[in-house]
């Protein structure tokens, strides 16, 4: 791209290690609340409860049977970070980190039109390979969650192949409301 006259420079992003923790605090908090509507009353799954069961049994059985393990642990983490006594230490803190990330991203966009980074830190792992450990799974999201956290558009372009033969993408981010130029650039990169 340099050859075509673009200015391409590496930038240092100090908060890289904090993106995923901030993301998981904020998104699990929202998810714990967003998923409350799945209570077996208005729509969706309802557990088969006994005739002497009360409303709490209905809620608990329905939600425990209906949600998978990953969803449950996210709801538990989200409930924890919002609960009395932990809200400021976890949730508000993550919102502050989001502010720092937002500011840092805007600094880059003051000078550059796009940010290039990997889509994932490694090629796709095998099914079931590491899902028992939530943290290593979450860390695979390190590059993709940044756009969500700071609220900018991003696109993953399947431009490369890893030595193992697996597809390996590059991710491009642009500033807010710059979707059109991001799509134009993507089109150009995919067709060269």
């Amino acid at each position: 791209m340099k050859a075509e006259g673009h200015v391409v420079e590496p930038v240092n992003f100090e908060l890289l290690d904090h993106i995923v923790p901030a993301y998981y605090v904020l998104t699990t908090a929202e998810a714990s609340s967003n998923l409350s509507r799945y209570d077996g009353v208005k729509f969706g799954y309802r557990a088969n409860i006994g005739s002497d069961a009360d409303i709490h049994d209905l809620y608990k059985q329905t939600r425990s049977e209906g949600f998978g393990w990953e969803v449950k642990r996210r709801i538990m983490l989200g409930t924890f970070v919002l609960s009395a006594g932990y809200f400021d230490a976890y949730f508000t803190r993550a919102q502050k980190v989001r502010k720092l990330l937002y500011n840092q991203t805007q600094l880059i966009f003051n000078e550059f039109d796009y940010i290039f980074m990997p889509t994932t830190p490694a090629p796709a792992y095998k099914m079931g390979e590491i899902s028992a450990d939530p943290i290593s799974m979450y860390l695979a999201d390190i590059y993709t969650v940044m756009a969500n956290l700071v609220g900018v558009p991003a696109i993953s372009l399947p431009l490369f192949r890893h030595s193992t033969g697996m597809a390996f993408g590059v991710q491009v981010l642009s500033n807010r409301s710059d979707e059109l130029s991001l799509l134009r650039l993507s089109d150009e990169l995919l067709n060269r």
């Binding site: 908090a29 929202e30 609340s33 509507r37 209570d39 208005k42 005739s51 409303i55 009395a84 809200f87």
Partner: protein, 486 residues
Amino acid sequence: MSLSPAYELVIGLEVHAQLLTNSKLFCGDSIAYGADANTQVSPVTLAHPGTLPVMNRQAVIGAIRMGLACHAEIEKNNYFARKNYFYPDLPKGYQVSQHTTPICKGGYVHIRTAEGERNIQLNRIHLEEDAGKSIHDIDDDNTCIDYNRAGTALIEIVTEPDLHTADEVAAYLTELRKILRYLDVCDGNMEEGSMRCDVNISARLVGSTKLGTKVEIKNLNSIRNARKAVESEGARLIAMLEKGETIVQQTRGFDVASNTTFSIRDKEDADDYRYFADPDLPPFALEDAFINDIKASLPPLQAERIERYKNEFSLSDYDASVLTEEKEISDFYESLVATPALNKKYKAAANWMLGPVKSWLNENGQGMDSFPLTPDKLSAIISLVESGQLSFSTASTLLWQAMLKNPNAEPLQTAQQLNLLQQSGKSELEPLIDEVLVKFADKVKEYRKGKKGVLSLFVGEVMKRSKGKADPRVTNELLLEKLKEN
């Protein structure tokens, strides 16, 4: 009920008022009362996945109107929070409310009781959405849920712990409802639940500055019940303190049949609602111009109307106060005095409003909007009396009944058809007067000896003979003349 003078009550009120919007706070469902269950629901109300809320501008305006009328400070930077808890009538599993940034802060409501006048300090007024209705008594095995009400815009008006007696509670609620109605912010109909009241109450030794353990009484659906609940719970709390018993923090209900409160649940483990800013709703910032426009559009409230009625219409403080007690009555009075036929007979109009009109409202248990006569018709009736064509007693009984039965008729024609118009002509009255003076010749002698009181007897007899149509004033004058002549 007299309470031990050693103790005082400390009371705070939370009033939920449904805003008089057309649609809900965050979606376009109608909020009309009395619709069939689950017919005023949208995917947004039912919390279907993927639906998003959009806020109703009119609800914001309603909350600000109430805040300004209560002298509150309007918060410029607002956002909504989620209050998370599970209950079947709460479709999303959270209620959207303003936890951290109430749209109105502080302010007060001025009340009058037998003890005097004072301001009840408000803590806040905030916007939130209503829940649906859980109905427990139509199905033996199930609770039935109607989501029509879910999402209706409410304001919650919260006082400081600043009230001390059942009288103050009743006066505050009466005044609050009056303001809500004057502003067209809420219809204040407690029976239909558009205004609901929770009472926080505690007791302490007079002179103590520490608040006692409080009890919350939920869902009081009339001012009368709020008063009775405070009386009964206040007495219970003080009796417990006198006996040295420990008061437990509780949520209680009020049983209308026995006039007592009962425990619903102990508040031992405080609920954890996990409030956080609702990510689905962008914040809203209020500009001065927006607030000033609302301020300029506020209608005069009762106090202003009382002053105006005293100054412009020369009414007494009492008449002005009673006329403005309800906005609808006050509005009707203003239309009435504006009719040309009334010819500025302000006091007469006030007497009619406070007499026959109010009697009709009370007897029929109706509001002013159900009153059958228009201001024009009432004005025509009043002018018949004022011009001496009809006595007040005839107008307010015979003609009144006829007009209420047939509100579209013309009062003058009706009076003619019923043959009610007064005979004020000399030619019609003289023969009757002569007849009476002859019949009561002995009384005439008494009159001439100085017993002037018998004059009213003559007037009454003439009236009787005219079947009530004689004009008493003219009759009086003619009698005086006749008695002088002989």
